[in-house]
């Protein structure tokens, strides 16, 4: 009992220097201006931290209707994530917990091996990570997680589904430009009620170059990765091996103009031969204008093309023109070609969106925006509709505890 005041003193001293940081966001993305509410989201993010520990809490409530011209495939969920880390010298302990639950009946969950469809009511995922910093730039990290999913048949009877995961790696932050990492991962999924039990594992290594400034104001970053996997995909084929390379270069022409280019390519090795897997190329030109300390006006022009078993293309232009005292006008145009699973629409979907709106920024405290978007998507028929994208983001001042 005599120790109680001492413990309280230590706890209060430990908490004295802690600070609470928060972020709040409310947004709505309607299907149309007049009818369907579309998608609404509320997000709260809080973090309490001190020098040697930190706790983060994120709660995201999402509500969406099931209608709309293009069918939505989600209804409503609440997602709570709590995680933290505590440092004890070279050792860092990182526990975490996620609880995701349906706000309504739950989404359809398709069982493997054509065993029907159930409702996905909720899932929990506790996890624990341990990291250690070693001399000479080495570090190691291991993490384990469990997943318990609550599924339900339409008649109300429940179905158990669980998963276990583990991963670990050793990394080397080499002197100079390079880093290297080697590790492995394991996942297992099982449901005794339907006799389902599967797992996969992989080991691999990656080497990379940190952001490096080259002549002519060019910055380069990249990595090459190789992994070999045991397990089978949904068709019963071996996962095999995969090698990939990603390079990104940014060229600054003037203080307000930069070109950002990324290339990615991956190869799969199966049955003794290498096959082209997925590749992509992207470029983005960013033009920024504004005095230091002012809200800048910005124009972004970009595009990306990808190729694998299917192709996608995306081109976009967006701009923010600062008008007066925190008020800016927003303009955007996006054109996309993507595969679709909407029934009867064929293999692809062309999508064009034009938007215009206003944004008001209150110092570093909040930003409010509203944008009207005209959207055209080519499915079974060509569908046109106008919708609203609006919201507020709020960063309350830090609170010392």
């Amino acid at each position: 009992m005599k120790k109680l005041p001492l413990i309280l003193l230590v706890l209060s001293a430990a908490a004295w220097s802690a600070a609470l940081e928060q972020f709040v966001s409310l947004s709505v993305e309607s299907d149309s201006l007049g009818f369907s509410p579309g998608r609404r989201q509320a997000l709260w993010n809080g973090m309490i931290s001190e020098d040697s520990w930190g706790v983060r809490v994120t709660d995201r409530y999402l509500d969406a209707d099931s209608g709309g011209l293009v069918p939505r495939r989600f209804l409503g969920r609440n997602d709570l994530l709590v995680d933290g880390d505590a440092r004890f010298g070279a050792l860092t302990v990182s526990p975490g917990f996620r609880w995701n639950t349906a706000a309504g009946d739950g989404l359809d969950f398709i069982l493997p091996d054509q065993q029907g469809t159930v409702l996905d009511r909720s899932y929990t995922r506790p996890e624990l990570g341990l990291g250690v910093s070693l001399p000479r730039g080495f570090g190691a990290f291991v993490e384990g997680s469990l997943v318990e999913r609550s599924l339900e048949y339409p008649d109300g009877s429940s179905l158990g589904w669980s998963g276990q995961g583990a991963e670990g790696y050793v990394e080397w932050d080499a002197p100079g430009l390079f880093w290297a990492r080697a590790g492995g991962s394991f996942r297992k999924h099982s449901s005794d009620d339907i006799g389902f039990d599967t797992d996969w594992s992989g080991v691999g290594a990656a080497v990379g170059i940190r952001t490096t400034v080259l002549p002519a104001r060019v910055q380069l970053v990249g990595q090459a990765e190789y992994g070999t996997f045991s397990g089978e995909d949904y068709l019963g084929g071996d996962l095999g091996e995969r090698a990939s390379l990603r390079l990104r270069a940014v060229r600054s022409f003037t203080p307000g103009m930069a070109l950002d280019m990324t290339v990615f390519s991956s190869l799969d090795h199966r049955d003794g031969a290498w096959y082209r897997a997925a590749s992509s190329g992207a470029a983005r030109l960013v033009l920024t204008r504004g005095r230091p300390g002012e809200i800048p006006s910005q124009l972004v022009l970009g595009g990306q093309v990808t190729s694998s078993s299917f192709t996608t293309a995306r081109f976009e232009a967006s701009g923010r023109l600062h008008l007066v005292e925190g008020l800016s006008t927003l303009l955007s145009a996006t054109a996309r070609r993507i595969p679709t699973t909407v029934a009867g629409a064929g293999p692809g979907r062309d999508w064009l969106t034009l938007g215009a709106g206003l944004e008001y920024r209150i110092s570093t405290l909040a930003v409010v925006w509203a944008k009207v978007q005209q959207e055209r998507t080519i499915l079974v028929d060509t569908e046109d509709w106008t919708r609203l994208d609006a919201g507020i983001q709020f960063w309350p001042p830090s609170i010392s505890i």
Partner: protein
Amino acid sequence: MTRYASLAGLLMLLLAAACSGPSDTTQLVVDPDLCIGCGECEEVCPYGAVEVVDGQAVIDPVLCHFCLRCVEECPKGAIY
């Protein structure tokens, strides 16, 4: 800049030339530069194959049935 872009393009061509046959991969890629961890892919996956971990979508290669719903719904085009 042109020199670096040409070098990267040449490297990609060499990689593509080194392999045979058209791509028939059943494994999706999440672009770490584009993914914002919004979770829309996780919401629409009917197989429980997508999880957002540390702000990035992670696709389980065994549970994924290549239905491409996540590709269609991703607002950033980060899955391909």
